[in-house]
């Protein structure tokens, strides 16, 4: 039998799994693997500038392509830097295989240089984590890692690779099949349960579809649209479910939850049947549980049994893949008379449309409206904060316009690296990153990666000199105690000032100059009149990223807002 080193079998495994890109940061414990990668051309290696960003890049790549994202880092700090990225991917069900170098087997436990128990550290934020204990198990473990990452409810899998095992000779066999007795994900829908659910649907007067991220992950947009067209039942989405149906669809009401639209939150409150697919009823969606859909019977389809009746008790649970379930449903449903219900929903929509408090000057809505008008084939990637909420409120999505955002974990610093990953996986598409001045600086070093890879990502940086989302909470619930949210503050400032003004010290850093120092482009926009020309300028730069820094009002709030713990219908609508 052919004897090869572990590194060689690893590269073979990557090729057999169809991996074309690895996001890798070298270090002492993975130099052998990088040497093996040097000797081949089939797999491209991207060098990010920080391992947290590295995982977000693999995440953005995976979310936007549907493929498994592959990370490769060294042990110790390389591995621990991945933690936030792994948690982010875990909460949003993103398939990743994270490979970490580990010290030589016989040194484990000796507190060797760059030894970290990364399996232990990530145990609660990984779908599965495993250390390769013997060279002969390497092929099997890698096969299982890819299989576990991409099947069922997808998620990150960590494989820890001791240095000695990667240079040890052994079989070059890469198994073709997987047999895990403890992991048999089922996607098939139970038709009996489904028929019961459809019967409830038929008997209801005020039904609503609540669609979560599971429908996007399952790639079931076309099926969902068919279902809605056929039944004429209105739809609301969670933040992660946004884009699963064309946001301009006549029956679409917007997002539900903490910053959901008035109509969507009222629809949940007043419906008599909540038909939910692919959501885990996070507290940001439900708010006060006892008041959530209090008049409704609830059907819940999800691939994860543990998501069903975890937060919200449901009447009909159905464990299934969203796509298979909706396809099966199409055979049993028919047009529903929802005329009266739709009229009610239209009234809510008209009485409280999504809007900004202030429509003067440069606003988030104007920028997002411009994006809606200008682009028809793009992926929009957000960071976390106010800009993210405005994006989920105002951005129009359809089959060619997609949104990537960190939902469950709400990871600041996610946006820009994820946009880089999305661009690497979708060279033909326009990638637009929307970020804030806080989150952008959490992974700003990735400008170097984007410049090196010649990625013309447009970064819309909403700079309001504040950590805006926290500031908003302080405005509404902490008597304007603006504690540690001003990003323009200097040592000499009054600790209890009410926020930045024209008299304040200049903002640090100068994002335009900073972009240029990286070899990227930077444009500063201070007036709404300049939005169009700024985008035109940015589109001319096809070799490197462009930061468009929008100087925005710190006092603008994201509304509606439901305070944590309050019922969903208890929305703050204006301030």
């Amino acid at each position: 039998m052919k004897q090869v080193r572990g590194t060689s079998l690893l590269v073979k495994a990557l090729r057999e799994e169809g991996v074309d890109t690895v996001f890798g940061y070298p270090g002492g414990l993975v130099t052998d693997i990088f040497d093996e990668l040097y000797l081949q051309d089939a797999i491209k290696v991207i060098l990010p500038r920080h391992e947290q960003a590295l995982v977000h890049e693999a995440d953005g790549y995976a979310r936007s392509t549907g493929k498994v994202g592959v990370c490769l880092v060294t042990g110790g700090p390389g591995a621990t830097n991945m933690v936030t990225g792994i948690a982010t991917a875990y909460y949003d069900s993103v398939p990743l295989v994270c490979l970490s170098g580990q010290v030589t087997s016989n040194l484990i436990g000796d507190d060797a240089f760059q030894e970290a128990d990364i399996i232990g550290i990530t145990r609660s934020i990984c779908k599965y984590g495993v250390i390769v204990n013997e060279r002969k198990n390497l092929g099997k473990i890698l096969k299982e890692a890819f299989y576990i990452a991409r099947t069922g409810k997808p998620g990150p899998v960590l494989v820890d690779l001791p240095k000695n095992i990667m240079v040890e000779l052994g079989s070059d066999d890469y198994p073709e099949t997987v047999n895990l007795r403890g992991y048999k994900p089922s996607t098939k829908v139970h038709i009996g349960q489904l028929k019961k659910a459809v019967d409830l649907l038929k008997a209801s007067q005020k039904p609503i579809f609540l669609i979560g991220g599971g429908v996007n992950i399952a790639g079931a947009s076309a099926e969902l649209t068919k279902l809605v067209d056929l039944t004429k039942i209105p739809v609301v989405t969670t933040m992660m479910g946004k884009g699963s149906i064309d946001t301009k669809h006549a029956y679409y009401l917007g997002n539900v939850g903490m910053h959901g639209s008035y109509a969507a939150n009222m629809a949940i409150t007043e419906c008599d049947l909540l038909f939910s697919i692919g959501t885990r009823f996070s507290d940001r969606v439900t708010s006060k549980i006892s008041e959530f859909a209090r008049k409704a019977k609830i059907v819940h389809i999800d691939i994860d049994t543990a998501s069903i009746s975890k937060n919200i008790k449901v009447d009909i649970p159905i464990v299934a893949d969203a796509k298979e379930a909706i396809e099966a449903m199409l055979k049993y449903v028919k047009e529903h008379d929802t005329t009266e219900w739709l009229k009610q929903l239209e009234t809510w929509k008209a009485s409280h449309p999504l809007t900004m408090q202030n429509n003067q000057g440069l606003t988030a809505k104007k920028i997002l409206d411009h994006i809606n008008e200008t682009f028809n084939d793009a992926i929009i990637v957000t960071d976390v904060g106010q800009h993210q909420m405005w994006t989920t409120q105002f951005l129009e999505l359809n089959e060619n316009m997609k949104l990537l955002t960190s939902g469950g974990m709400g990871t600041m610093g996610y946006g820009f690296p994820a946009a880089i990953g999305a661009k690497i996986g979708n060279q033909e598409k326009q990638i637009i990153c929307i970020s804030g001045d806080g989150g952008m600086q959490m992974n700003i070093q990735e400008l170097a990666t984007a410049v090196a890879e010649e990625l013309p990502v447009i970064i819309c940086l909403f700079n309001n000199s504040s950590l805006g989302m926290v500031r908003q909470v302080q405005t509404l619930f902490y008597e304007k105690h603006y504690s540690s949210v001003c990003t323009r503050r200097r040592k000499a400032c009054d600790l209890r000032c009410s926020g930045s003004s024209d008299q304040c010290p200049v903002y640090s850093p100068d994002f335009v100059a900073l972009a240029k120092s990286y070899g990227a482009e930077g444009i500063r926009v201070t007036s709404d009149k300049e939005i169009g020309t700024a985008f035109e300028e940015a589109l001319k730069n096809t070799k490197s990223p462009t930061i468009i820094e929008f100087i925005m009002d710190k006092d603008e709030l994201v509304l509606p807002m439901v305070q944590g713990g309050k019922p969903l219908y208890n929305m703050i609508l204006e301030y």
């Binding site: 399996i119 232990g120 145990r123 609660s124 779908k127 599965y128 984590g129 250390i131 204990n133 576990i148 895990l180 007795r181 403890g182 992991y183 994860d304 049994t305 543990a306 069903i308 009746s309 975890k310 008790k313």
Partner: protein, 165 residues
């Protein structure tokens, strides 16, 4: 909140115990005792877990356990006919002659073996249900000053006859 029992078949691999106990700790589930040992198949370990929870949390715990790749099977023992025993050692020291006599009587009544002793001390070995072990400990701690207790946590297996507990 009720007492529940789970029998759990898991892969006999490194870190699986940490995974299961970590799941209970991380999600604030109320774990009361956990025993683990290899089965007739050396690649499989079997855990007996005692916990306290309400009905909803218990359902969630079983689902979360099932979701672990390393978990092969989850069996709810709460209402099944099972045999369940716990190993208990009690060492009683500084005994008078009268104490010694009393201890031998207790041992006889409770069906406990005395497996070691010296003129002032007795070591009892007790394989009983958890509640009988509790009774014994309560009795001994009220009557004797210096006792040392070590208990192993319960192990359980399904009955053959399906009638006996």
């Amino acid at each position: 909140m009720e007492k529940r029992w789970i029998s759990l078949f898991v892969e006999n691999d490194i870190g699986v115990l940490a995974k299961i106990s970590g799941l209970f700790a991380g999600k604030a589930y109320n774990l009361e005792s956990l025993t683990v040992g290899m089965t007739e198949d050396e690649t499989v370990s079997r855990m007996t877990i005692r916990l306290k929870s309400d009905d909803e949390t218990f359902e969630q715990i079983k689902k979360q356990l099932n979701r672990c790749v390393e978990v092969i099977k989850v069996i709810d023992f709460t209402n099944s006919p099972i045999h369940m025993k716990e190993l208990l050692f009690v060492k009683i020291r500084k005994c008078s002659k009268g104490d010694m006599e009393e201890l031998y009587r207790i041992a006889e009544v409770f069906g406990v073996s005395i497996i070691d002793y010296d003129p002032e001390s007795v070591l009892m070995e007790c394989v009983q249900t958890e509640s009988k072990n509790n009774d014994l400990i309560n009795l001994l701690s009220s009557d004797f000053k210096t006792i040392e207790v070590v208990r192993g946590g319960s192990v359980a297996i399904e009955s053959i006859s399906k009638t006996e507990w």
